[in-house]
Amino acid sequence: MPGMFIDVEVDAKTAGDTALAKKLTEVCPVNIFAQEKDGRLRIVGENLDECVLCDLCVQAAPAGTVRVVKLYER
């Protein structure tokens, strides 16, 4: 579920890559990402609006597979 202001979309392949999931969890300064027990990526919905638009997640993943959406621009 998106936040009021921010949504983060992650391609299924990237979300299922446990190494990438770990990396995304580490780079986000506001804990938008976490890992499920099986290592898959989980989006922490309650933290989405804390996004500081640093783009570290976008840079950590293969190009175009993580997208940060400013809902207020829609």
């Binding site: 009021m4 202001f5 506001v30 609006d49 804390e50 500081v52 638009l53 400013k70 207020y72 621009e73």
Partner: protein
């Protein structure tokens, strides 16, 4: 954080500063015992964190222990400016030949501590400085370079003190400076510093204020002086609203969003930025507005923290609207605060467009912030609108509400 007189004197005593014989009593019977132990005339002083004790009847004299008991009973029953006394300080009454003043405090303009000394003690030092400027000496001191007693000597000599008096005063005044620096005080004052008929000096009254942020650093000292962690030492106990504000602020390490003070108006304030909050509060009042609260927000609080602060303010009975205003910000993001306050309105079941009277925070990430505000129909303004004008707009909107 202010100390009671007996605590200030206990601190001075640890450093060898000469004090009259005395002790604090919690009951009239204790006061009687202390007076009997001292032997001879005593002075009894209400232990409250406010001035004007003498005028209010909080200082009495007694020649015998029985008189001391009666005086203590009266003092302990007397509220001064709404404060019940913590106890009554019973001290030997010293025959004073002359009163002096010595204090160390912060000079906000020079950004340095300043030692102030006068040979006209016992009265308000501002009045002495105005009417008898030659009797007040000042010496700024460094918080980096070591303190030297010769600086105290210079200040004392500057008001014309020489000879034995000078020699006796130097260690007292120099120690006062050392205490100020060592314990991160914002005020260390002896007034009056009494010269007795036999030439000795005694600290007759003392005031100490500790920097609030230094409480943890000096936890051991405070414990030894019997000052509890729960003691805020503020002018009045915090209200439930203020306690909740502190909880919001403590909920997350990022930035500041709290330090609320409750007022009885109808316009909630989400304000901040390096003194801007005080300016904005005054501006609201100048325009005839009635603030429901004072608060401080800044240093990039999380969206949740800004949201929870907004919800707290909106939960206060009688708050019709909020004004969200800061000076030009560089270390706080406009978009983050905008998200927080809008979310706070929505989670409170209120329409942000109706609830936010004005949003005036220009600065970092303002383009994103203004985009958010436009989406939710909130009136906002940039830096071309002064804080004063923004406050005026908020008050005008309240009048139309």
């Amino acid at each position: 954080m202010r100390f009671y007189e007996y605590e200030a004197k206990a601190l001075f005593a640890r450093h060898g500063t000469p004090l009259p014989k005395g002790q604090v009593a919690r009951t009239a019977a204790e006061a009687q015992k202390i007076a009997a132990g001292i032997g001879g005339p005593v002075v009894l002083k209400s232990q409250v964190l406010t001035g004007g004790r003498m005028k209010a009847g909080g200082v009495k004299f007694a020649d015998a222990p029985a008189d001391a008991e009666a005086a203590a009973k009266a003092i302990l029953a007397l509220e001064i400016k709404g404060q019940k006394p913590r106890g009554v300080l019973v001290e030997q009454r010293a025959p004073v030949a002359q009163e002096y003043f010595a204090a160390v405090t912060w000079d906000g303009r020079r950004k340095l501590p300043v030692l102030i000394f006068s040979d006209m003690g016992g009265i308000d030092i501002e009045e002495v400085a105005e009417k008898h400027p030659a009797h007040v000496a000042r010496a700024h001191l460094s918080t980096i370079l070591p303190w030297s007693a010769y600086r105290a000597k210079e200040a004392i000599v500057a008001v014309g003190v020489t000879g034995d008096d000078l020699n006796r005063l130097i260690p007292i005044v120099s120690t006062l400076v050392e205490v100020f620096l060592r314990y991160d005080l914002t005020l260390a004052e002896i007034n009056p510093l009494g010269k007795l008929a036999d030439g000795r000096f005694l600290v007759l009254d003392g005031h100490v204020d500790l920097e609030g942020d230094a409480r943890d650093k000096h936890a051991k000292l405070l414990e030894e002086l019997g000052i509890g962690k729960e003691e805020t030492r503020e002018a009045r106990p915090p209200t439930a609203f203020e306690i909740k504000g502190a909880q919001v602020d403590a909920s997350d390490h990022r930035g500041v969003a709290g330090n609320v003070r409750e007022f009885d108006g109808d316009l909630g304030l989400v304000i901040g930025a390096g003194g801007g909050s005080l300016t904005l509060f005054d501006a609201i009042r100048k325009h005839g507005g009635r603030p429901a609260n004072y608060c401080e927000i800044g240093g990039n609080p999380s969206v949740r923290k800004a949201c929870d602060l907004t919800k707290l303010i909106l939960s206060k009975p009688g708050v019709k609207k909020i004004a969200v205003m800061m000076n030009v910000v560089s270390n706080t993001r406009v978009d983050i605060v905008a998200r927080g306050v809008i979310k706070g309105c929505v989670e409170s079941g209120r329409d942000p467009a109706e609830t936010i009277a004005i949003f005036r925070i220009p600065g970092a990430w303002e383009d994103d912030g203004f985009t958010i505000l436009r989406k939710y129909g909130v009136e906002y303004c940039d830096r071309t609108v002064s804080m004063d004008e923004a406050a005026g707009r908020a008050v005008a909107k309240m009048a139309r509400a």
